[in-house]
């Protein structure tokens, strides 16, 4: 069984089982759902490409509008934000088609479906809205049950380390402040997605539903009115988009193949030599100590490129050269951590 971490670790000591089946399944379901939700959402927005604050959409009170206007023989696209007009011809507002230019807020290559159909876009949106919510629920319940959630929940002390982590990524700091599986920046990103973005995007979406507004009169009011809820829903969608960009950027720059492999097959390549049977029998001799410190020295250097696993290295660097006892002590801890996760 590939899903048994202990056996597999023995099979190849350099690979660690990082993402179990539930994580991988929910991750990719989520990725597809978010992409379709975003693109079908833009199509729905195209039906009325204006945003307002409040309950109603009084003409000329939109704070954001995407429109097309005739300019001589030309049709130009404009985005207007709080009265400031930006010419966006070629991208937003107008699109060149077979029959000439046509008014279209977001271009067809950004929407699902590409052709104009509010009805079809709504079908995609609501199906994947349900999928997104159910998939997220499965993820949260599972990870609460196995105790994984707390590993990436941002605490106050994590929050204080965020600047240090940014400095580390910008090569302004040599050591990563990471402790545990997730670094402070990851924790901040994931926590804000779980605590802010996801609940708010779901609630603002539901606040647009007349029937749910009957069920919960306070729901649109909580956002400042139905049109405000619509505006929040739109803005939050771009919050997800920026998270996705940041996420993909990190994957691309922090070991693309390794990260992709770990999210597809579960296996992540750690540069750490995994000691399966820790040598605890005899007191260490001088040569063993020398060897051990040499290994950890290599380990430290190689880890600078892969910040995720750099935490133990950082710990080692600040302490005197580790002994075999240190190695023996740290290994079961690592093992225990690994054993906790994959139980699919």
């Amino acid at each position: 069984m590939a899903d048994n971490p202990v056996k597999a670790t023995q099979r190849s000591p350099h690979l660690v089982y990082r993402h179990n089946r539930v994580t991988r399944l929910t991750h990719w379901t989520n990725a597809i759902a978010l992409m379709i939700l975003f693109m079908s959402g833009l199509q729905i927005f195209n039906a009325h490409p204006n945003l307002y604050w409040g309950n109603t959409s009084e003409p000329k009170k939109a704070f954001l509008s995407i429109s097309a206007a005739q300019d001589g023989d030309d049709v130009r696209g404009y985005v207007e934000l709080y009265g400031r007009q930006i010419d966006t011809t070629g991208f937003l507002g107008v699109q060149q088609g077979v029959l000439g230019p046509s008014a279209r807020a977001f271009p067809s290559w950004l929407t699902v479906p590409g052709y104009y159909s509010l009805a079809a876009a709504r079908r995609w949106h609501f199906f994947f809205g349900w999928l997104f919510a159910l998939n997220g629920t499965l993820y949260v319940i599972y990870n609460l049950a196995v105790g994984h959630m707390r590993k990436f929940f941002l605490t106050f002390s994590d929050a204080k380390k965020v600047p240090a982590m940014v400095a580390y990524y910008l090569h302004l700091r040599k050591t990563s402040p990471q402790e545990g599986e997730y670094n402070p920046l990851q924790k901040m990103a994931y926590t804000s997605v779980f605590v802010l973005l996801t609940p708010l995007v779901l609630l603002s979406g539901m606040a647009m539903s007349p029937q749910l507004d009957v069920a919960f009169n306070w729901l649109p009011a909580a956002f400042g009115g139905r049109q405000s809820a619509r505006a929040f829903h739109f803005i939050l969608a771009f919050g997800f988009l920026s998270f996705a960009f940041g996420h993909v950027f990190m994957v691309l720059t922090q070991g693309f193949f390794n990260n992709m492999r770990s999210m597809i097959s579960g296996w992540y390549k750690e540069e750490v030599p995994t000691v399966i049977e820790p040598p605890v029998k005899a007191p260490p001799t001088e040569t063993v100590i020398a060897e051990e410190s040499k290994i950890s020295q290599e380990y430290t250097e190689s880890q600078i490129q892969t910040p995720h696993s750099a935490a133990p290295a950082a710990k080692i660097q600040t302490t005197p050269p580790p002994t075999a006892v240190d190695a023996a002590l740290s290994t079961p801890e690592k093992k225990a951590e690994k054993n906790e996760e994959p139980k699919s």
Partner: protein, 261 residues
């Protein structure tokens, strides 16, 4: 090395996956989703969400909860109209001039006592006034003050048969092809306290643009359910033989019958 081959194939698999993903995202994406959007099987799968939404939302809303009612200061300066232009027949225009003296609301189908009502008769029945928000499927909202007769009052007069499940609303307006507008709601929404046949908007007789002489207000659903220019109500057990079988003008063109979201 023993591990070399598995690693290579894994790399190939990864590269293949990435290439596939890239192609899907960049060039094929639009075509794929367009194809899927026109595929009946995919569409019926996506329709599952509509049934899920209807069941879940109705469970949460129950039967007695009301849509938010606003105060007079919230009323929008202009109640936007949408959809087909008003009916253009001579009869409609002449009747509009004569304060709808010829117009009658015909009620038929699976009812014990088919009946028809003049506008005066409807206005003499107990009325309900409500200031509510109107949400269009396109995304915009307006607030207006409506006065009309509760649909349940009509039901009490005509006595629907036990097998009646839906009310089909027949309208006088047509699209550019001459197809008449029609809509349908089920009896759950029909007996909702705020479901009315409205003959007044903002203390004025219902304007032609907003559906004169009579339109539906069903506050649990989106604007396209609120049929305008009503001429008849028909109680039916099934929507299969109405129009193209989806229960409404827009439903026949792919919009959901359940428009509570």
């Amino acid at each position: 090395m023993k591990n070399l081959n598995p690693k290579l194939s894994r790399r190939k698999l990864l590269l293949g996956t990435l290439q596939g993903t890239g192609l899907l995202l960049l060039s094929g994406c639009e075509k794929i989703f367009d194809g899927l959007s026109r595929n009946d099987k995919v569409q019926s799968l996506l329709e599952l969400a509509e049934h899920g939404s209807r069941r879940a939302q109705r469970l949460l809303a129950g039967r007695d909860k009301l849509a938010q009612e606003f105060s007079a200061k919230d009323i929008s300066p202009k109640f936007r109209s949408n959809g087909n232009p008003p009916p253009i027949t001579m009869d409609y225009a002449a009747d509009a001039k004569n304060q709808w003296t010829k117009w009658r609301l015909e009620v038929s189908g699976l009812v014990k006592q088919p009946a028809s009502f003049s506008l005066t008769e409807l206005k003499s029945m107990p009325s309900r006034t409500q200031i509510t928000r109107h949400d269009c499927v396109e995304g915009w909202s307006v607030i207006g003050k409506w006065k009309g007769v509760r649909l349940e009052e009509i039901m009490n007069k005509v006595q629907p048969a036990a097998e009646a499940k839906y009310i089909v609303l027949r309208c006088m307006d047509t699209d550019s092809d001459g197809t008449n507008y029609f809509e349908s709601i089920d009896l759950i929404d029909a007996v909702h306290l705020q479901t009315i046949l409205a003959y007044e908007l903002n203390d004025q007789p219902l304007p032609v643009d907003n559906g004169a002489p009579l339109r539906l207000r069903v506050e649990t659903q989106l604007g396209y359910k609120h049929a305008k220019y009503i001429r008849a109500l028909e109680f039916v057990a099934s929507l299969d033989k109405i129009g193209r079988g989806k229960g409404g003008y827009w439903e026949d063109q792919g919009y959901e019958w359940y428009a509570g979201i």
